[in-house]
Symmetry: C2
Subunit: 332 residues, 2 copies
């Protein structure tokens, strides 16, 4: 316990992220100040939004400084506490970043119950990805029973929750995923009504066939050509929650969208959102997601990288769609 | 009174509209059936949406058939009535199209008072363009005092009302218009805080300078490069009412938008609308617009073409931005 392995941002990427953009670093063990606790991170969440924080470009949050620890959501165990609210042995969710140990004020951490679900679920369906799915679907898409809901990156941490939530509300749900295995998983295990494999080479025809009479709701995680084509397949008065555009994150030039006119012609609502700006809804969202988990109506899948030093490669793979389900790092 | 001059759709245009796409026709004088009235059209409104109805392409309304009378809003005088609700001499607004005379059920016409404002105002600020401005601004943009509101096609029938409404609510208002004369009119006569002349050759720099710290609201009538650049100049949580994309209506290929990612990064709401789908709000909108007119706080300008046979050329000019203010035809 004398060293704290960290992953630092070594260099800002342009285009695709590569291993050289990260640097492993051994820092001294941190010690908690008054009101803080020291946490041993057990699981690190890898998420597409982190790509944005690696760039200096204007965005909704400050970029990670070059030379600083990469930011990230974590779940871990309190090993030292200087705040009466938390005790050693407590499990907590926080934003302690890509490192083995971290200090944070107790009020910036959320104590979680590791006895009911696996600890890492608090980084997935019962964490930020789950609440993201809930917020975009319930507050922007507002689907009604019988409507068609389309979800891109359907096998991922967010998309899988979106589709299962929509199914539980009586919607017809169409997923879009990359590859035959993910597509089969989306229909056979997650219970979506259909899934389009965007790698199969018939994107336009397959989307038209799967969407049928048009989508009332679209939960968009991918952007690019898939998003552009789906814009042209919306029902009048359709609602689109724009959650991510991962296909664009590594392009130096953005994809040029040709179907924006559909927003006018079909009177669509297109809205971007960031779940961390709606913290007041997290308790409600987590309660509803927890009920679905307890009822066995919410399934998920994890891709686990073993050891913090694997985090850069796992992150790079996730940006290429090589993960299958929620991408985690067992910090070890 | 034995002939009824009409303008028919002769051919569907691809790209720019030309005179050959229309045909003048002399039809027999129509006679009203039971419950109908015969109206002599005094003014015809020319509006960008008509371009869409000339195409067979999927849109929110059925296209005009080839060989049929062009659709259009009109104001005129009842000359024969077979419904007790209207009498000869009454002035009515309706959708009687590009022709000198038309029959319609009395319930499809709105009786208007010609003593308080010029009759043709019911085709402008106190008609569909005015309500369009009101709806998009009040129900989609929802501007608050002190916010910056950007309006494209600012000297036009819709844009001029949008800007003056927003000014009356304490907003900072920036217009975009084509040419120095229109831009001067927008600031000096309509009272906008600034206006960018998109023909001046410095579009990007001029928009950045005029918008300043970013737009909270955008009322978009134009589309294309102007819209794409304005997407990149929005404040976080900005609201965009997408009312028209006139710059695209005559392109065979749509403009490729590069800044859609701003919807995500800035958490924008972008919504398309068609005012005729919100008829329940017309009374409220017309009451509020009428109060502004009565208070001398709503000014407008008209481009008048004399005689129905001039309508095609006036319409073609409007699509090229050659009109200045509301484009009307004095049917004569």
């Amino acid at each position: 316990m004398s060293r704290n392995l960290q992953v630092l941002l070594a260099e800002r990427p342009e285009g695709w992220v590569e291993p050289r953009h990260f640097r492993l670093h051994e820092a001294p063990m941190p010690s908690p100040a008054d009101g803080q606790v020291l946490v041993r991170n057990l699981w690190l969440s890898l998420d597409p939004y982190m790509r944005g924080r690696m760039s200096a470009a204007k965005s909704y949050a400050d970029p990670v400084d070059v030379g600083a620890v990469m930011i990230g959501g974590t779940v871990g165990e309190v090993i030292d506490s200087r705040d009466p609210a938390l005790r050693p042995g407590d499990h907590v969710v926080g934003m302690l970043g890509w490192q083995q140990y971290g200090c944070a004020p107790a009020r910036a951490l959320m104590k979680v119950d590791a006895s009911r679900v696996p600890l890492q679920a608090y980084l997935g369906p019962l964490g930020m990805p789950g609440v993201t799915a809930w917020y975009g679907l319930q507050r922007i898409c507002e689907p009604r029973a019988g409507e068609t809901v389309v979800v891109t990156a359907a096998s991922g941490a967010v998309g899988s929750v979106v589709g299962q939530l929509a199914k539980s509300q009586g919607c017809r749900v169409v997923g879009v995923a990359g590859g035959a295995a993910k597509s089969r998983y989306v229909t056979d295990e997650l219970g979506f009504d259909a899934c389009v494999d965007y790698k199969a080479g018939r994107l336009g025809a397959d989307l038209r066939a799967a969407v049928g009479d048009g989508a009332h709701c679209l939960f968009e995680n991918v952007g690019g050509e898939i998003f552009d084509r789906l814009l042209g397949l919306m029902q009048p008065f359709g609602r689109i929650a724009l959650c991510g555009m991962i296909s664009d994150y590594n392009n130096t030039e953005p994809y040029a969208m040709r179907n924006v006119r559909a927003v006018l012609v079909q009177r669509l609502k297109l809205q971007g959102f960031i779940v961390s700006e709606h913290m007041e809804l997290w308790p409600q969202a987590l309660r509803e997601l927890g009920e679905l988990v307890a009822a066995g109506k919410l399934r998920w899948r994890e891709s686990v990288a073993d050891g913090l030093e694997q985090a850069p490669q796992a992150f790079i793979g996730m940006l290429r769609g090589e993960n299958f389900g929620k991408q985690l790092v067992r910090v070890g």
